[in-house]
């Protein structure tokens, strides 16, 4: 596997249907109108020298290396900024140009260190390449003139260095930060010869607004901004394209390797989800894969108070299998189950549910999507017929009004947020519906038209009020409704939303949002052109999560904002493979492709393929498993790649459930919090160590490619296969591609998917079958998957979790950019420098009432439990609302959350908990005990070496 080499065309693709034909160095080429001469030349195979141009950024025209001569035109225009024109005759190599380019390079090198041989970028430096390309042989200015060689390095960022002595002031970093990432953390300060790249106000990177997305490093043509890992390890020798294992955006990366060592992860320009962009997690936070705390050997223990004992794989597998068999013999077939992972591949997930259904003989399988997007599946399936978002990410480029509800894209889905910001800067309108003032409400060059800071738990009321405005002000898209939706259901719904009690004026008191804003937001969404709704867990993680999803679906239908580019209903998935885990039949009631287990035809197809009879009854969902465990009837659980103790609500209840089981098997990279209650620990593999596929939030199936040997010995799919075969299932998968073939065979929406096809197309958005051989970027074009779109009446039913004298504040939770989920991975990287603890955001008024000052340790308690954490006083949250993240096990926000859940799916109500805040003098009893338990559970007895 050599290094992948992508052509840099110098300027972005010009989107035009018209073509022009020009001649470059005697060769004729036809290109889209608006294409730069530089890009046209690159398309024709001629590389014009360049330094400030790169095809991820708009042409800038500053380096002056790419000048060309054009017949009939005076001077030497820059090829990057001059569009190709019909009949143009361009020369890229003439004596004048050679002299000119030589002159420019001579100037560059007169202010550049002459340390190529010891420079980390040696061999991968565009300045070096260009000096060669123009044939520079001598710098006649000498090296004693004014220069920048004594400028100090900035090593403040943990992942990259900034060495201004090597800077050629091409502004690529600044432009990348502005155009691609949209943070505007960098500038050129000063002017003329004194111009220099400056983070923030001339500060170190870490003191600036930099979010460490890596776009500047990616854009830098020299060693000025360069990964510390590259400096340490040296230039890579091979590279492999793979998919990030963090969030639901699904960025494609080129893993650049030196031997078995990752040198760096480079965002892949041809990646459809990220288009060459990245965030601090995917780009830099992969060091957990080799973290010293990673567990590489299987371990078992008899009780959870024992230390762990390292064992061989065969012993661990046999031990587990015996325990499960014993438990099923003693407590019945239904006493065991499994949890699939939204972080593992589709193939791995598919195998776990297959193990449960075919091996354990029940349907007790669930996935962590239960606790995040299960309402999305239910709600969108009910209304539209498909349990998935309707658009691809790039669709946002066509959106005119963007509505964000209960999502914080700049933290949760940063790479997509950057794309969204590009569109917002280009003029799209923005409505943010969120209790907290997320960054997108107002961030440089982006400002929401409306921020509706609703009281947590009132999404449905707000969405219905917006629908009321649309229906009562005659803003409904009648043509769309007539052609595409069920008329009776529409009329029932329209009559429902039109009732006076759903008017913004009536709802105002409930949701706390001024009626005028509700009306204006409803009008804007209905009349502002293409309206696209993006939502996250702030919609789903409520007792009315499913109702809210359906309310969103209603809004999109009533305005006709569905079935084309630029519109749609877009769930932003939390983890890398939430969509995939759901698709793969991880839910206890359905097989892959969202087909109910009771459906005879589907079941029999699986039975025939697998050669076993399947239970036709739905199995247990995660909370039900825990309830059943507490009841003493559910005894063994195989958990692949999840940390339910930390991630699931009402930690006390989770721990009680786990503690009640006889055999808890945790398969993970690290001894996580759930493993404190485990009897078997199976070391898992990272995404770098296995083949497979992830499916991102836009239904895009992408390849995960093995770049190194699994340090634990097996990919996760192999471990599941070992367990299955110990159960006597006789599986014989040699490669995950065979698993995908099986999925395709058994799942109509995946019928056209195979590894070969993925390699060929790069990625595929399901459905992919004979009807859509290239996949389906945008769904419901021309008609809904279910036929007619279904309007659903969305009565607002307030949660039973209510504030009162004891718990007068509402806690809502979220995530932060640098950390991921329970932090298992990110906490084991340098990302902790950005967020080393979870803090409680509290409004100044509420803080003052309680005598809380910035940074104080406070006690946060609810009916469910209490934790202590530090306070941050901010008006990002409204009075009466507090907010925290759940990335750190020592603060365990989920000790606080309750076991209230969505009516339809049991998705927990993480986002609304009545709490009280008071000053604390130390950690709570629970925090102390769980800390002790974790400590105890990290004891490992190693076999003496033979």
């Amino acid at each position: 596997m050599p290094m992948i080499k992508l052509i840099d065309y110098g300027t972005p693709d010009a989107a035009s249907d018209m073509t022009v034909t020009l001649t470059i160095d005697g060769r004729e080429i036809s290109v889209a109108a608006g294409t730069s001469i530089m890009r046209a030349a690159a398309l024709a195979g001629t590389e014009i020298p360049k330094l400030c141009a790169t095809d991820s950024l708009e042409a800038f025209g500053s380096c002056r290396l790419c000048l060309v001569e054009i017949d009939g035109r005076a001077g030497t225009p820059a090829s990057c900024t001059t569009p190709a024109a019909e009949g143009m005759v361009v020369r890229t190599q003439t004596e004048t140009l050679k002299r000119l380019r030589n002159g420019v390079m001579e100037l560059y090198i007169s202010d550049h260190p002459l340390d190529c041989l010891t420079c980390a970028a040696n061999g991968d430096c565009e300045l070096q390449d260009m000096a060669g390309a123009v044939g520079l042989r001598e710098v006649r200015y000498g090296y004693d003139g004014e220069n920048h060689l004594a400028e100090a390095k900035d090593e403040s960022n943990p992942y990259f260095t900034f060495d201004p002595a090597k800077c050629i002031v091409c502004s690529r970093c600044v432009r990348a930060c502005d155009e691609v990432q949209g943070t505007f953390a960098l500038t050129i300060a000063g002017r003329g010869f004194g111009s220099k790249v400056s983070p923030g106000q001339g500060q170190p990177f870490m003191d600036s607004d930099c979010v460490s997305c890596g776009a500047c490093v990616q854009a830098c043509p020299t060693a000025t901004l360069i990964e510390k890992s590259l400096i340490e390890i040296g230039q890579p020798e091979r590279s492999v394209v793979t998919t990030c294992a963090y969030c639901g955006v699904g960025c494609t990366f080129e893993a650049q390797m030196r031997g078995e060592q990752v040198v760096r992860m480079i965002p892949y320009k041809d990646g459809k989800a990220n288009q060459g962009h990245s965030c601090v997690k995917g780009r830099f936070a992969w060091g957990y894969a080799t973290h010293r705390e990673r567990i590489l050997n299987p371990m078992i223990r008899d009780t959870i108070t024992d230390p762990w004992r390292e064992v061989a794989w065969n012993e661990a597998i046999a031990h587990t299998t015996q325990a499960f068999k014993r438990i099923q013999e003693r407590h019945g077939r239904l006493a065991v189950g499994a949890i699939t992972s939204s972080r593992c591949t589709n193939e791995e997930t598919f195998l776990v549910q297959k193990l449960v259904r075919a091996g354990y003989g029940n349907n007790n399988v669930d996935t962590c999507a239960r606790v995040c997007h299960s309402p999305t599946g239910y709600g969108l399936r009910t209304t539209y017929g498909t349990s998935a978002g309707t658009q691809d990410f790039i669709s946002v480029d066509q959106a005119d009004v963007i509505v964000i509800i209960g999502a914080n894209p700049t933290d949760g889905h940063p790479v997509f947020a950057s794309r969204m910001k590009q569109r917002l800067r280009a003029g799209a309108h923005l409505i943010v519906i969120d209790p907290r003032r997320i960054d997108l409400v107002r961030t440089p060059h982006v400002e929401a038209d409306f921020h509706l800071p609703l009281r947590p738990g009132t999404n449905v009321a707000v969405l219905t009020a917006m629908a009321h405005v649309i229906v009562t002000e005659d803003l409904a898209n009648e043509d769309f409704i007539r052609d595409r939706c069920d008329a009776d259901e529409f009329h029932d719904w329209a009559a429902f939303v039109a009732r006076p009690e759903h008017s913004p004026e009536a709802i105002e008191a409930t949701c706390g949002v001024p009626a005028g804003d509700l009306r204006a937001a409803g009008r804007l969404y209905a009349t502002g052109g293409n309206g696209a709704i993006y939502y996250g867990l702030g919609v789903t993680e409520h007792s009315q999560g499913t109702t809210a999803v359906m309310a969103i679906a209603n809004l999109a239908m009533v305005t006709g904002n569905i079935g084309r580019e630029g519109v749609g209903v877009n769930p932003l998935r939390g983890q890398n493979n939430v969509q995939g885990a759901c698709d793969m039949g991880s839910f206890p009631h359905e097989l892959s492709g969202y087909r109910h287990i009771s459906d005879e035809a589907t079941r029999s197809m699986f039975e025939a393929d697998w050669g076993v009879a399947l239970d036709d009854e739905p199995g247990l969902r995660i909370p039900n498993m825990l309830d059943a465990a507490v009841d003493g009837v559910f005894k063994a659980l195989y958990i692949q790649g999840e940390d339910i103790l930390q991630s699931d609500p009402n930690t006390h209840h989770v721990s009680a459930g786990l503690a009640a089981m006889e055999c808890v098997v945790v398969q993970d990279l690290f001894l996580n919090e759930t493993a404190n209650y485990a009897h078997v620990f199976l070391p898992g593999s990272t995404f770098l160590e296995k083949d497979g596929t992830f499916t991102n939030a836009e239904r895009r199936i992408q390849r995960v490619r093995k770049v190194m040997t699994p340090k634990n010995g097996y990919g996760d799919w192999e471990i599941t296969q070992l367990l299955a075969n110990a159960m006597g299932l006789g599986w014989a998968y040699d490669h995950p591609s065979q698993i995908m073939d099986e999925i395709a065979r058994l799942t109509p929406t995946f019928a056209g998917v195979s590894f070969a096809r993925l390699d060929e197309l790069g990625s595929i958005q399901w459905p992919c079958n004979d009807a859509a051989p290239q996949g389906t970027p945008v769904m419901h074009i021309g008609g809904f998957a279910r036929g007619k779109g279904k309007f659903v009446v969305t009565e607002y039913v307030p949660t039973d979790e209510k504030i009162g004298p004891r718990f007068p504040l509402l806690l809502t939770t979220g995530r932060i950019l640098s950390q991921y989920n329970v932090g298992a991975q990110t906490r084991r990287t340098a990302n902790v420098v950005w967020h080393d603890q979870d803090v409680l955001e509290i409004h100044p008024t509420d803080a003052e009432d309680r005598g809380v000052r910035e940074g104080d340790l406070v006690r946060l308690n609810s009916r469910a439990g209490e934790v202590a954490l530090h306070a941050r006083i901010t008006d990002r949250v409204a009075p009466g609302v507090v907010y925290t993240t759940f990335h750190h096990p020592d603060t365990q926000a989920n000790v606080i959350t309750t076991d209230y859940s969505d009516w339809a799916t049991n998705c927990p109500e993480y986002k609304v908990t009545a709490v009280q805040v008071s000053l604390a003098n130390g950690p709570t009893g629970w925090q102390r005990r769980s800390g002790e338990l974790s400590h105890q559970s990290r004891r490992i007895m190693r076999e003496p070496a033979e």
């Binding site: 739905p618 039900n624 009402n650 039913v797 039973d800 009916r863 009516w903 339809a904 009893g925 629970w926």
Partner: protein, 79 residues
């Protein structure tokens, strides 16, 4: 695991099932058509047999706490 110094929720599984059934009932109550049938269909599709057995048993024992529509829905369960 003891948590005696903390006042956290301690509901039994049956209590939870009643809460869940009532939540489902409150949704279907607002829908056009037969609410009880909707409840029954939903529970049949998503609850495992043991949970269904428990709620039926609870209903049979007087159905303490069950909303009328939830009760009707449970009664309409065929399995």
């Amino acid at each position: 695991m003891s948590a005696s110094d903390e006042d956290h929720i301690a509901t039994t599984s049956d209590e939870r099932l009643v809460v869940m059934a009532n939540q489902i009932a409150r949704f279907f109550a607002s829908q056009p058509g037969d609410a009880a049938a909707g409840v029954a269909k939903h529970i049949a599709a998503y609850w495992d047999p043991r949970m269904r057995a428990h709620i039926r048993a609870h209903a049979a024992a007087g159905g303490a706490g069950l909303d009328p529509i939830a009760s009707d829905g449970v009664a309409a369960l065929t399995r």
